[in-house]
Amino acid sequence: MVHPPVADIPPGSLPSGSVPQVDVPANGLPALAPLPPAVPRQGSVVGSAVTDAVVSGLLTGLLLLPLVGFRATESGSGPLGLTYRFGLVAVFAGIVAVLRLVLNLTVWRRGRKVKTSEGPSAFATLALKAAPALRPAFFSFAIAYPFLAILLSGGLSPSRYWVDLGIYVLTYVMLGWGLNIVVGLAGLLDLGYVAFYAVGAYTFALLSTSVPVNDFFAGHLGEGFWTAWSFWLCLPVSGILAAFWGVILGFPVLRLRGDYLAIVTLAFGEIIRLVLINWVSLTNGGAGISSIPPISFFGVPFNATDEGFAAKYGLDFDSMHRIIFLYFVILALAALTALVTIRLRQMPVGRAWEALREDEIACRSLGINTTLTKLTAFATGAMFGGFAGAFFAVRVRFVSPESFTFMESAVILAIVVLGGMGSQMGVAGAAILLIGGMEMLRNLSFLKADFLFGPDFDPSLYRMLIFGFAMVAVMVWRPRGLVSSRLPTIFLKERKAVSSALVKEGHG
């Protein structure tokens, strides 16, 4: 049985349709016929790709001709005029044709070997190896960040933008970690997380601006006490009230699963927002609550007086001190969220959350009270949302229902899903990418250059479009999020990441 090895057959040397002679080996079974090479001739690939690209370009042009090509414009007081934008149609058609050509030659190419991998991906293995170093590195960077910002932007005042951005991103990191407990660990899809954020923010806003409360403390602990200490005293109250509302939401939705749970939590978020708008006597309705007292350095106000932070610690007064302090407060709150979550995951309650996500019926057969377990997940997640809300109120010093729309819930959920449900580093990375990235899109002033889009172009208008594209792309390439594997909470010999194929996403 001598026939040339398959690799030696030059492409195309076997006439298609003819079956090559098959030797019968000694065991009597015919050897498998060497298949004709599956890769077609190079020329035809490029040719068909180009044809396909041209056809799709033409189709796009035809489709967009009426949609984009004509535009009705008002010309002063006269009748509507018609402007023609055939150039734009050509640009769109060209973009489609070129993209299609590129895809035809790369991703959609026939005979392209698709990489399939079993078990945790190389990315996950790398993340697992880097994980012990990644957390301290991330945390050290977070601590050093305001100082880096000051150094690199050359002074306290110019760094304001960057420190503000850091606060903004960390708020979402914290919210993502909070929601991660409910969605990622317990597997309960919560679309109304912003409600707890709102409860926290309004709790602090209402208590800190309340005259009776102020009078009460003024009578007992001196004038100005409440202004100075309101945040620090209201922070736990905000968390507890939000957790309480988490339980209130939890009770009716315990029997619901999947889509139904999502709808009810979504409705709950809207109810809270509508109550805030319509209960004018308490919340001042859509006008919101303003003049919330600013944060103090544990009772020492950030102002230019002799009692102020700067004077007390021998510094020159700068309004940036307060901002930098705010940064460290949110960093501490986010770190608290992360540490508590890590600790809870290693406790029976955290394992029960994950077990609940894996199989609720098996949980019940082991004696786990699933009602209580779900409620603790809702309450714990809501509590961190409440902390973040109180922080939001003291940072912005103004709250209104505008800040707590469904869009916020959607962004927080997107951060959790994009990061990889259950993974803390993934969620932090996703928050930085999404929130930081969206903010960076405001800064693409080079796009306003004449040779690109011209000075009228506003890149920030395209943020949501790019955000959408990015989400679609990530969900196509990494459907289970940036960090999709799960780290076991305990191990005997070796901590092995669990492949996302085995980890369930929860049933809602």
Partner: protein, 308 residues
């Protein structure tokens, strides 16, 4: 109290099923079934497909609320008929008895059947936490004993020494069962990665980690090859021998049933048709008829043919 008479020898009962019926709409899945499972024995429930075996199990473990009937589980020792009547009349779900305690399972929700009455179960289609490791599965099973000081135990939150000791105890127990089922090497692998037979054994070990007094196994040998089946028999016999746990099992595999069970209950179309030792059941014409699908009067002929 006919059902409390020791049917299977002199052993005290652990579970007394009294006139259990379960209807789904017009379908009567279980019709007035009574039997007693004795303490320290292996009781098998067998019957053709659709006989209502799994429904009986779901009633015992609280997943279904029976339409009628009483399911009494005894801790410590059997209750006297008077004690049983007193608790039944009281409307409570449990009561103390001279020998220990008694639970009326039909009045308890599923998770309390597991945590209070200490009845553990496995499932026909394995229900492991597939994304968690083998070790984690065994630790989740010890949830109730680990959370005796509350779900958010401060000692656990702060990782105090008292908690570490408690966790060490849980770990030792998990390792003991890992050793029993021979999966020590795979402790850190996800449960979903294990071969089928190992998953079956792991599910039994997980159920045993809840310290049950009664272990209910729903077709533990289904899909196992003869070697795995033999290993399972070994495991079940060691559970009965070394632990204070009685076993109730549903099984189709007659080698398992005949080899390890002390007492067999046969169901057909929701009714009990036979009850006794494996030897008695195997020669019961009704059982032979139901398993081989012939009329009762022809059973004797069939029996002679199969040499049973």
């Amino acid at each position: 109290m006919a059902s409390l008479d020791p049917v299977a020898g002199a052993r005290a009962p652990i579970l007394a099923v009294d006139h259990l019926s379960m209807r789904f709409g017009g379908l009567i899945a279980v019709n007035d079934v009574s039997f007693v499972a004795a303490r320290g024995e292996v009781t098998a429930v067998i019957g053709p497909n659709g006989a209502g075996k799994t429904t009986v199990f779901n009633c015992i473990t609280g997943f279904y609320k029976p339409s009628a009937g009483r399911l009494a589980l005894f801790h410590g020792g059997a209750a006297t008929p008077d004690e049983l009547d007193a608790v039944t009349a009281s409307g409570l779900s449990w009561g103390r008895t001279g020998a220990g305690a008694l639970y009326l399972l039909e009045r308890l929700p599923d998770h309390k059947v597991a945590s209070w009455a200490r009845v553990a179960r496995t499932f026909q289609n394995i229900r492991l936490f597939s994304g968690m490791t083998v070790l984690e599965n065994l630790l989740v099973a010890q949830h109730m004993s680990l959370t005796s000081a509350g779900l958010l135990n401060p000692a656990a939150l702060l990782n105090l020494p008292s908690w570490k000791r408690q966790q060490k105890g849980a770990m030792d127990k998990a390792l003991y069962w890992l050793d029993q089922i021979g999966l020590m090497e795979r402790a850190d692998d996800p449960a979903g990665d294990l071969p089928y037979g190992d998953q079956r054994r792991l599910e039994i070990a997980r159920a045993m980690c809840t310290n049950p007094v009664l272990l209910c196994l729903d077709e533990p040998a289904a899909g196992l090859n003869p070697r795995e089946s033999a290993a399972l028999n070994e495991l079940l016999l060691s559970i009965r021998r070394d632990h204070d746990t009685s076993i109730l099992l549903i099984e189709h595999d007659m080698s398992v049933v005949m080899e390890i069970s002390d007492h067999v209950v046969v169901l057909e179309y929701g009714c009990k048709i036979a009850d006794g030792t494996p030897q008695e059941v195997r020669t019961d014409p009704k059982v032979i008829a139901s398993y081989l699908g012939v009329e009762e009067d022809e059973a004797a002929v069939v029996e002679a043919e199969v040499g049973a």
